[in-house]
């Protein structure tokens, strides 16, 4: 059954839409248009002179091996963050779902990391693992690990992945838990009566029914890894050692704000925008079809 509201004129619905449209235009479309305009210009730091350069900024980017390397770093980083944030989130949700006594306490504690801003999370992990002053760094050394992420690239990547993923586990936990609780208990009871083991029940009933949630979270986590992890990188490694942890969004910031190369930075933003639009479109078009919606 469908419910429909019929408006007699167009003025009132337009007025209702106006606030949302204004916000979208001012905060999304206008900056995006600005970025596109700046990406075809070359400007000095102070904005005193502006020259139209066509696609020069883009050509310069793709001729730059550092930029191409940053793509590979970003792909590895995003995939690892999404995986490491989703799997423990699901595990914790399944376990918390079974808890009978003190469930609220477990849930609250598990949610705490989400309340921490990425920048703070970065500082926190930096203090734990800093080769000079970190508590855990000292412990690692005592175990014989030569811990120095300032020079060791794999260690640096591992550290920022862990810091970024850790923060997102809570968010995933929350959504998985909600997903689990919406699965009708009668299905599980029926299969239990049929003699299915808990493991079998999970993989044949729970997991497929969680697919919509998982799919949604996958998109959210990848977008998070792409854009919201700037604070973690900035506070822990500043993109180093070398350029080992310079993900695309960090390079946008670095070239624009530190390097004051606004044209090059804008060109990178435009590319990033295209990537995200493409990624989202692909995911919704192709992956969604295979998702089993209850």
């Amino acid at each position: 059954m469908e419910r429909r509201v019929i408006f007699s004129g167009w003025l009132f619905p337009a007025a209702l839409l106006l606030p949302q449209l204004t916000v979208t235009l001012v905060f999304f479309f206008w900056p995006a248009a600005q970025a596109i305009r700046q990406s075809v210009e070359r400007q000095d730091a102070f904005g005193l002179s502006t020259v139209f350069v066509g696609f020069d900024n883009f050509l310069a980017l793709f001729a730059d091996p550092d930029y191409l390397a940053s793509f590979a770093t970003t792909a590895l980083f995003s995939a690892a963050v999404a995986l490491l944030a989703l799997a423990p989130g699901l595990l914790l949700a399944v376990m918390a779902d079974r808890v009978v006594r003190g469930a609220a306490i477990y849930k609250t504690v598990l949610l705490l990391p989400y309340a921490i801003a990425p920048a703070i999370a970065g500082v926190l992990w930096m203090f734990l693992f800093n080769p000079s002053i970190g508590v855990l760094a000292a412990a690692l050394r005592r175990l014989g690990v030569d811990w120095n992420y300032l020079l060791d690239a794999p260690q640096a990547i591992l550290l920022v992945i862990l810091a970024a993923a850790w923060k997102q586990i809570s968010y995933n936990f929350l959504f998985f838990l909600a997903g689990l609780q919406s699965i009708p208990p009668s299905l599980l009871e029926a299969s239990a009566i049929d003699g299915a083991s808990p493991r079998r029940r999970f993989w044949t009933i729970v997991f497929p029914l969680l697919a919509p949630t998982s799919f949604f979270l996958l998109v959210v986590n990848i977008v998070y890894a792409f854009f919201d992890t700037f604070g973690v990188i900035h506070n822990v490694t500043q993109g180093g050692p070398g350029k080992a942890t310079e993900i695309l969004v960090y390079k946008v910031w670095y070239d624009g704000i530190v390097g004051l190369d606004l044209g090059g930075s804008a060109a990178q933003s435009v590319i990033l925008m295209a990537i995200v639009i493409g990624l989202t479109a692909i995911q919704f078009r192709f992956i969604e079809r295979r998702v089993h919606y209850a």
């Binding site: 002053i133 300032l150 004051l260």
Partner: protein, 437 residues
Amino acid sequence: MPIKILAAVAALLAATVRPAFAEPIELQWWHAMTAVNGERIGKIAADFNATQGDYKVVPVFKGSYAETMTGAIAAFRAGNPPHIVQVFEVGTATMMVAKGAVKPVYQLMADAGEPFDPQSYLPAVTGYYSTADGKMLSMPFNSSTPVVYWNKDAFKKAGLDPEKPPKTWPETFEAAKKLRAAGMPCGFTSAWVSWIQIENFSAWHNLPIGTKANGLEGPDAELTINNPTVIRHVANLAEAQKDKSFDYGGRTTEPEGKFTSGECGMIQNSIGFYGAVKAGAKFAWGVTELPYYPDVKGAPQNSIIGGASLWVMAGKKPEEYKGIAKFFGYLSTTPVQEAWHEATGYLPITKAAYEATKASGFYEKNPGTETAIKQMTNKPPTDNSRGLRFGNLVQIRDVIAEDLENAFAGKATAQQALDDAVRRGNAMLRQFQKTMQ
């Protein structure tokens, strides 16, 4: 503390006693100074405000050097820049070409009719911030140069003479090995690797960092740091990194803690670190000159400055410029400079302040404090050691640091790392040259 409170009370009284019609004109001063240095800035402003009632200098801390500079640029683009902004020496080229965005200091002083004699400033300092024909564009403020700090207690423990720090690089590496052998977690470290181990290393050995007198003579300069001496030095550092007799600790000031905590026996760092060591080190320590390779002809030459200068932004009212000129005049007075120099370790900017500090016996009572100025004026500067002026130097420094990291991690040889730094650095120089046209 009581003096500070007194000063505040005095300022408050002065403000209330004055008739209400003369509201002082506020002058925003954005800076990047922390700890002891930041406190001194607050004191300079408060003291200046107490000497007169027409202007009120308001210091605002804006984060790191890079953040302060980009903050001011963003504010300029938005049409509301601060009056005075502290810009680190690597930002000099960017500020210089921004003709419509800054007001040159020589012009500011002339317009305001404030007495101003460029000859009274130390040429080693002002040369960096002047045009080719000697016109001062910005006001030198905190000028520094790298020196060596050593931990005397650690030296004693390692069987080294605590009063005799190593003079040359071979001696430095040897001392560092002994410190490691005596159980120190690290022999020596270096802050600001690009500035100290490449730029100052080159000047100190009378080697060019780039063509065109290190860029002072034109924006079409190219980097030349992949020369045999620098390659040998980076290879030595990378070798020492293996056994931690040299231990890399980050690109800018991050390694400082490794020295004050007693982890490293020596650190090469800015003389501006002096105040922090004095306040934080729980061991006997000293300051000495940078080491050199004795087989390099002409070494040691002289080191070059770092630190920052104060730039005046364009588009302000004439009466505000009058106030800034007055403040710069106050800043250059001998007592202010002397106090700043003695508290922070930064170089005095006027000859008179240097002479006054000497006469006061401060250098005898605080051994090492004269090291920086002596090292900078060691020999008359050559084209290789007068200074450097490269566009995009902020990024070029990061490029150099990245490549050094690759060398220290053993991912690249010293030759590969420096070749790569030259290639990428030159690309940034060309890009800057394009935005100038």
